[in-house]
C-alpha cells in the first residue's frame, strides 16, 4: 500500500514538473499569441480588447513588408529548386553508378559543409560574391544556400535511394528502357517522398535564415522578411509593435504549416532532420 502511494505521488510530481517546464517554455511566446490581434499592442502582455485583424490590414498596406515576404519566397523557392534538382541527380548517381570513390564523396562533402559554417565563411563568401558581381542579387542568396544545403540533402536522399530495390530499374532496362528513361520514368516517381522531405527541409532553412541575406544584400527592395523584421525592431526609436507582431506571425505561418505537414506525413523520425 505504501509503495503504491509513493508511486502515485511521484507520478503527480512528474506531471506537475513537466507541465511547469512546458509553461516556462511558453512564456516568451505568450505575448506573441495576443499582440498580432490587438490593435493597441505594446510590448506589454495584454488580452486584445477588442480582438481584431486590423494589424494584418496594416501589414497588407505596407509595401516594404509585402515586398520582403515576396523576396523571401523568391529566394526560398529558387534555392529549393536548385537543391532538389542537383541533389536528386547527384544522390542517384552516388547510389546507382560505378563512379570510383563515390562512397567517400558524401562523407567528405558533409565534413566540408559542417566545417564551413556561416560564421566561419561569411568573409570569403562575401568576397567571392563581390568578385563575380552578384552582390545585392537574389541569385547570390540562392546559390550560396544551394551550395551550403546540398551535402546534407544528398546525404538524406542517398540513404533514401539506397533503400529502394535496384530491381525496379533493372526490370525496366531489361524491357528495353535506356538508363535515362529508367531514371525519369521508374526511379523518380519512387524517390518522390524523399525529395519532398528535402524540399521542405531546404525551404524552412532558407525561409528562416538571417545572416546570409543580411550580408549579401544591400538594397531595401531585395531584403527578405527575416532582414525586414530585424530592421523593424532594431532601428532607433520605438518599433511599430502592432505591424511587427502581425507581420512576424504571417512570416512564421509557412514554417509551422510545413512542420505539421512533415510530422503528419512522415512521423517522428524526420523531426531531427527538418532543421540544422
Amino acid at each position: 500500500m505504501g509503495r503504491f502511494a509513493h508511486l502515485h505521488f511521484s507520478r503527480v510530481g512528474f506531471t506537475a514538473l513537466t507541465a511547469l517546464i512546458g509553461a516556462i517554455f511558453a512564456l516568451p511566446l505568450v505575448w506573441f499569441l495576443f499582440a498580432p490581434f490587438n490593435p493597441r499592442a505594446e510590448l506589454g502582455l495584454a488580452i486584445p480588447r477588442p480582438f481584431s485583424f486590423s494589424n494584418f490590414g496594416t501589414v497588407l498596406e505596407n509595401d516594404f513588408a509585402i515586398r520582403a515576404l515576396l523576396n523571401s519566397l523568391i529566394q526560398s523557392v529558387g534555392g529549393v529548386v536548385c537543391v532538389a534538382f542537383a541533389a536528386t541527380l547527384a544522390s542517384y548517381a552516388l547510389s546507382r553508378s560505378s563512379l570510383p570513390g563515390k562512397g567517400a564523396v558524401t562523407y567528405v562533402l558533409l565534413l566540408f559543409s559542417s566545417v564551413v559554417s556561416g560564421s566561419a565563411a561569411m568573409v570569403p563568401i562575401f568576397l567571392m560574391i563581390s568578385r563575380v558581381g552578384l552582390i545585392d542579387t537574389h541569385l547570390a542568396v540562392i546559390f550560396v544556400f544551394a551550395g551550403g544545403l546540398l551535402p546534407t540533402a544528398m546525404f538524406i536522399l542517398r540513404d533514401f535511394i539506397d533503400g529502394i530495390p535496384r530491381s525496379y530499374e533493372e526490370s525496366a532496362m531489361v524491357a528495353g528502357a535506356s538508363p535515362t528513361q529508367a531514371f525519369f520514368d521508374v526511379a523518380l516517381p519512387v524517390i518522390r517522398p524523399g525529395v519532398v522531405v528535402v524540399v521542405v527541409w531546404a525551404f524552412v532553412n532558407i525561409w528562416g535564415s538571417f545572416l546570409i541575406p543580411f550580408i549579401l544584400l544591400r538594397s531595401a527592395e531585395k531584403m527578405p522578411a527575416s532582414v525586414a523584421i530585424y530592421s523593424f525592431y532594431s532601428e532607433a526609436g520605438t518599433p511599430i509593435v502592432t505591424l511587427l507582431a502581425a507581420y512576424a506571425l504571417l512570416y512564421s505561418i509557412p514554417v509551422v504549416v510545413l512542420y505539421l505537414f512533415v510530422s503528419w506525413k512522415f512521423g517522428f523520425r524526420f523531426f531531427g532532420g527538418i532543421k540544422a
Binding site: A90, Y92, D162, K275
Partner: protein, 304 residues
Amino acid sequence: MKRFSLLSARAGATFMSPAGLLVGAFVIVPFFWVIFVSFTNRSLLGPTALNPDFVWFQNYIELFTSGRGVEPGTFGFSLILTVQFVLFSALIGQALLGLLLAWLLQQVPKSVKGFTETMVIGAWILPEVVIGFAWFAFLDYDNGTLNGILDALGLPRGDWLLDYPFWVIVVFNTWRGTAFSMMLFNSAFASIPPSYFQAADVAGASSWQKFRDIGLPLIRGHVVTDLILITMWTFNVFTPFLLTRGGPGGQTEVLSIYTYRVAFRDFDFGKGAAVGVVVMLINLAFALFYLWVARKRTPRKEAT
C-alpha cells in the same frame, strides 16, 4: 560477382555535375579562399581593398596577443566567452534539460506530454528573427512579460539585457535549442524494450533508479552524438546577435558576432578571415571526432 551498374561512370559524372559545381563554388572554394585571405591585410575600402599585401601570420599574431582575453572586443575575450556559452547553454542547459524532459515525457499523461512537447518544439522551429523579437518584447524593462510576472509575484524587476547580458543569451539559447536533445533522447528511450522497465517495476525500482541503471547506460551512444552536435551548432550560432547585437559593450560578442563585427563593421577582412580559419579548425576537430564516433558505433557498409 560484380554488380551490374545501372548508370555508366560517364552518366554518373554528368548527374553529379550540377551539385559538384554548386558545392565546389560555394563550400570548397570559400574554405581555401578564407585561408588565403587570412594571410593578407585586405579591407573593404582604401588602397588595400584591391591590392592587399601579403602579411603572413600578422593577423593571427594580433588575434592571440591583443587584450589577453580580459577586455571585451578582443579575440581572446570572444573565444573564452564562446567556450563558456557552449558549456552553459549547450552542454549543461540543452543536454541536461533535454534529458530530463525526455525522461519525464515517458511517464506523464498524454495531454501534458503534448502541451510541453509543443512548447519546446515551437521554440525550436520558429524563425530566428521572430524568436529574437519575441524575446526582445519578453525582456523589455517597462512592459515586458518577465518583469510583469516578477511584479505580480512581488519580486524585484530587472533590466536583463543591460545587467545580465551573458546569462540572457545562455538562457535564450538553452530555451531555443533544448528541443533537439529532447527529441533525440526521447526516441532513444523509446527504442529500449519496455520489458526492461517492467522487470525493474516488479523489483520495486524508483524512477531515478530506472533512469540511472537502465535508461542512461543504454542511450550512452546517443548522449555522445547529442553533445558533439549541439556543441558544434552552439559554437557557430549567430542568433544571439538578434537579441543583443553583441552588446552591451561587447559583453555578448561570441565568435560568430566577433567575426561579423571585425569584417563588416570594422571592414578588416584579413582579420575576419583569420578568425574564420580558427573557427573552421575547431569545427574540423569536432566534425572528425563525430565521424570517428559515428563510424565506431555503426560500421557502415560502403556500396562498391
